[in-house]
Amino acid sequence: MYAYDQFDHAMVASRNAEFRDQVERRMKGELSEDEFKPLRLMNGLYLQLHAYMLRAAIPYGTLSADQMRRLAHIARKYDKGYAHFTTRQNVQFNWPKLSDTPDILDELAEVEMHAIQTSGNCIRNVTTDQFAGATADEVADPRPYAELLRQWSTFHPEFSFLPRKFKIAITGADQDRAAVKWHDIGLVLKRNEAGEVGFEVSVGGGMGRTPVIGKVIRDFLPEKDLLSYSEAILRVYNENGRRDNKYKARIKILVEAMGADEYARQTEAEWERIKDAPIDVPEEETARIKSFFAPPPLEVLEASVPAVDEFAKKHFIFASWLKNNTNQHKVPGYVNVTISLKPHGGIAGDATDEQMELVAALADAYSQSEIRVSHEQNLILPHVPVKDLPTIWTDLDEAGLGTANVGLLTDMIVCPGLDYCALANARSIPIGQAITNRFDDIKRLENIGPLKIKMSGCINACGHHHAGHIGILGVDKKGEESYQILLGGSGAEDASKGTILGRGFDEHGIVDAVEKVVAVYLGEREEGEEFLAMYRRVGPQIFKEALYGAA
């Protein structure tokens, strides 16, 4: 993992001291709310429906065991004993007091964490593949590049007041687990014919009220040029993006208006002008950053462990967990374990302080003290020896973390919705709970197969409903909560935008609607055909008929 140097420590400490002073002045009335609000937002502090909410960054979703322990401590000492992991691989505390936030930020700084640029019209936390550096299907580890982008974008003076927020995602794997095409900039690591590493670069992806899939503007960007090319993209956006209308201010609107070819032309022209300026870092610095992400020294082990197979025969949930919640590691005899934060009937993405402590302890014991957060709101233990899986699952299961549903229907993305969020129009969490309770049968889930349901409580789409195989969008229909259903979205390498099927349902009707959609799929699928493939083959009509009757 990356370790702060003296500059990182000094920058965060100085920002925290500044914010402590701002909070004190606010409490004394020396700053009005109008003056204070932009300052608190720059430090990740929102005022939500019931309380303040502090969003801390988890750079590219990578945490150490000590950092996780600190999050647990903060949840216990300053909050109500739990935290929420988000679709941007960040963590949110729902109940901090304003006067406690400077202390919380100091506690985070002690473990090299902060909340800088987790809000506001700036470059946000760079997200990536939760299996980065540990998966078998990877060209290169994307995290050193994400770290380079983090350092370049933190307090970047030119990009601190962009027209709107800006999100970058990067993956190094064939399978896109970071939804890169749905980001303002999406980077896919690849090798050219000469075997050199570089990036396919797309721009203008985004969800929200205007969902757009990013357009590729460069097939291969040499890795050494990442920062100067990113600077050129941002500069074109910063100069031309709309500032007159918040809803038209994201880069996706500019790219659509300008055309991807013209956006590429302007970016290339700007890049030509600046690429020899001292923006990109020297090779030694890239090598230094890469050294923090060197693969752990893992001794090759037997991939097949009879004791594990025996345990699986005795515990059918473990057998399912083994199949669904583990991902092949690049070193034989190891896997990456996904800990589902989607217990059936539970709150997606929430973890208690005790659960966080357990995950930290397991990371110390079995995963090189490393933890990852996925954009699908789960936690990952990378580099885990296969032989240790029965012990790990038993410990997780006792703590309510043993659900074997990763990649299946109940592994839903669910935003906080109207239970917490000031922007929401409808509740999301109770719908997630009702759906996961309705499908609380692992054998049934496995028969249905891979199926991603993603749910948002408003049009801002934090719950990625546009990218769900089944998407659910909560809306306000004359003061009542109503839920629309979308089909056919994807956040993977075959990114696609879901289509709204028809009128919305109430909170009970939407659960029935999901069950009817699944029934249509089960009735019509061909041998081995997954939900999304089947939908793409047959289209929406038969689903519409099942939900609304023949027209």
């Binding site: 606010r26 409490m27 004394k28 009335g29 709310e33 005022l47 939500q48 429906l49 019931h50 309380a51 303040y52 109500k80 109940w95 007091k97 304003l98 006067s99 709150i347 109207l418 239970d419 917490y420 929401a424 129009n425 509740r427 969490i429 109770p430 709970q433 306000d476 003061g479 009542e480 909560e481």
Partner: protein, 107 residues
């Protein structure tokens, strides 16, 4: 632009330090309990707002606004679901909201 509210209104805000939701009361203070909330209609809303605004100026509350209310047995309840949620706390963590405890001291 926000829709103009018609009919009875009540005043909602968040505590400056803890962010907790409070309603301006008939006795001129703040309470998490809607049953204590003052309400008014038409021109009287302005004077209710003026009285409540004092507490913004003295740093007791933040994010103050007049919201639509429904009146039952002479008591005001938030009309919109968003404000009703604010009055109750999260519907999914009944252990955390105001449902279980109204011990919060009244200003």
């Amino acid at each position: 632009m926000a829709k103009k509210i018609t009919g009875p209104q009540m005043i909602i805000a968040n505590g400056l330090d803890d962010g907790r939701v409070v309603f301006f009361t008939r006795s001129g203070g703040w309470s998490p309990n809607t049953e204590d909330a003052a309400y008014a209609e038409d021109d009287a809303v302005e004077s209710l707002l003026e009285r409540a605004q004092v507490f913004v100026a003295n740093n007791t509350v933040v994010d103050l606004q007049a919201i639509g209310a429904t009146i039952e047995d002479g008591k005001a309840f938030p009309a919109h679901i968003k404000h009703a949620m604010q009055a109750k706390g999260p519907s999914v963590r009944l252990d955390l909201g105001y449902q279980t405890s109204l011990e919060w001291e009244q200003a």
